[in-house]
Subunit: 265 residues, 2 copies
DNA sequence: CGAGCCGTTGAGGGGATTCAAGCTCAGTGG
DNA sequence: CCACTGAGCTTGAATCCCCTCAACGGCTCG
């Protein structure tokens, strides 16, 4: 239970755990009153995806150290995550799918990663760095904006958080390398089948989000026409059945068969 | 030169730096005697690439906390870094080039990263994980084997090390994403030119290591024949001139021109 | 020396791109 | 209501790039 450093912290009274702060409405509680339970801790505690998210590494008492608001933001499909603002931050994806784009020297864009619910993005903010990639919402998405300063503070008292961060970094690295091996290798058929497999993993298993054809092209380094042809072929083969725009249903058995067929070619 | 490694660690009373240990053979010094300066600290202090390496984050006094031997190992070209052994470890590349291979579901291998002098590889050992990729020496290579347990211990007293580790993780991630955008995108010509550009960066600028054609294929997802044709074309265009087997000299001006030509196609 | 590996080059076929046309569908305004 | 429009998807035809198969030369090594 070490106090969160930095600010000259005035003492408040100790309060029984669980007892809500009796704050007169309109009264502003200064940020440095970290001894009072900040409402954000309550919000985070009730977060439905906390177990998978970064703060899943924090136990109940550690959550109480959160003393700033974590902004929640919604992104419309195609809307970029604006990283402007001098105050660096990390983001947790609460719902939807966002993509990392990176523009090649040629000028065109290449999608290098996808992040679904529970994923942590923008970790480089912790290091004061900016990475070259830009995050854009694929579907409607909901994110939590976690200030880098908050993470840095929690890091001092909570070693588990450091571990969790390293885990995330390694996962991101593994994902990207797997992306390279799976989605950037071999003929178009194989790439598209593998992409569908991944997208099925992002969804609930049967129903999945299908990117635009031009997006598929940017993920797989194919033209949108070839992507379209391959998706059409998968529909003919019974792997996919279209459900509305940008949605589809997948047949696991047919998908497995397609994976095998694409591999031992 | 550094002491071999692994072997039961000799010790003695505090002694002047540089003076050899006068140790009765067979006597084992317990690990918690960290107050004695271990010879490894001297070795690391004199390391010629320490400034770029992981322990560059440690100052002089922190180096003295190193109390185990760090094994130095040489790899012949083509030799894999054997990760067998229950004791996890990280590795710093001191000289040469090593590659990360990852086998696709199809069975063939894809090279997903290159590591040159100063690079840290195998960080996942810190997390008790094993990643899917295997490291193989491209050229003759010299590595330092750093036990994960040592890093974990140093981590407790040296916050700078945690920062350095995160930096490395982010760099690896950035590298891989850039690899994806640069070397796995566009026509064969562009990929090969970009690869040569990277290899020139690994070398001293003019003289560079040229991989085997099949290795190039595994890096760029091309057949070795197309790789060969592209390299031949670069020779014809004056970008490369062969120097021995697996070596070449690059003309920076011609390379820049080739990059431009490949991009605005 | 023959065996094997590596690199190079050629010829032919196949797969992806390019260019192009037509389609559905949503939004708009006459 | 319906033509108009534009964006996204699909499909066709022609071209081109890369792969496949193949042969050959240089080189090292048993």
């Amino acid at each position: 239970m070490s106090p969160p450093a930095v600010a000259p912290r005035p003492a408040g009274r100790l309060r029984a755990p669980g007892a809500p702060a009796a704050t007169p409405p309109g009264r502003v509680v200064p940020l440095y009153r970290a001894d009072e339970r900040h409402p954000q801790a309550q919000v985070c505690r009730r977060c439905t995806i906390r177990s998978e998210a970064l703060f899943g590494a924090l136990d109940e008492t550690a959550l109480d150290r959160i003393h700033v608001h974590i902004a929640e933001l919604m992104l419309a499909p195609g809307e970029p995550l604006s990283r402007r603002g001098d105050d660096a931050a990390l983001y947790t994806v609460r719902a939807g799918v966002v993509r990392a784009e990176r523009s090649t020297t040629r000028g065109d864009r290449r999608i290098v990663r996808l992040a679904g619910a529970g994923a942590l993005i923008g970790q480089e903010a912790l290091l004061g760095r900016r990475s070259d990639d830009e995050w854009v919402a694929c579907t409607a998405a909901q994110l939590c904006r976690i200030p880098a300063s908050l993470v840095r503070e929690l890091l001092r008292s909570e070693p588990a958080l450091g571990q969790a961060l390293m885990q995330r970094w390694q996962s991101a690295l593994d994902d990207t390398e797997a992306w390279l091996a799976d989605l950037a290798t071999g003929p178009a058929r194989r790439r598209v089948v593998r992409l569908v497999q991944r997208l099925a993993g992002l969804g609930d298993g049967r129903h999945l989000w299908l990117p635009r054809r031009s997006e598929m092209g940017a993920m797989l380094d194919l033209t949108l026409e070839t992507a379209s042809r391959q998706i059409s072929a998968l529909r003919r083969d019974g792997v996919l059945t279209a459900v509305g725009p940008g949605g589809a249903e997948v047949s696991p058995a047919a998908l497995a068969a397609a994976l095998r067929a694409a591999d031992d070619a």
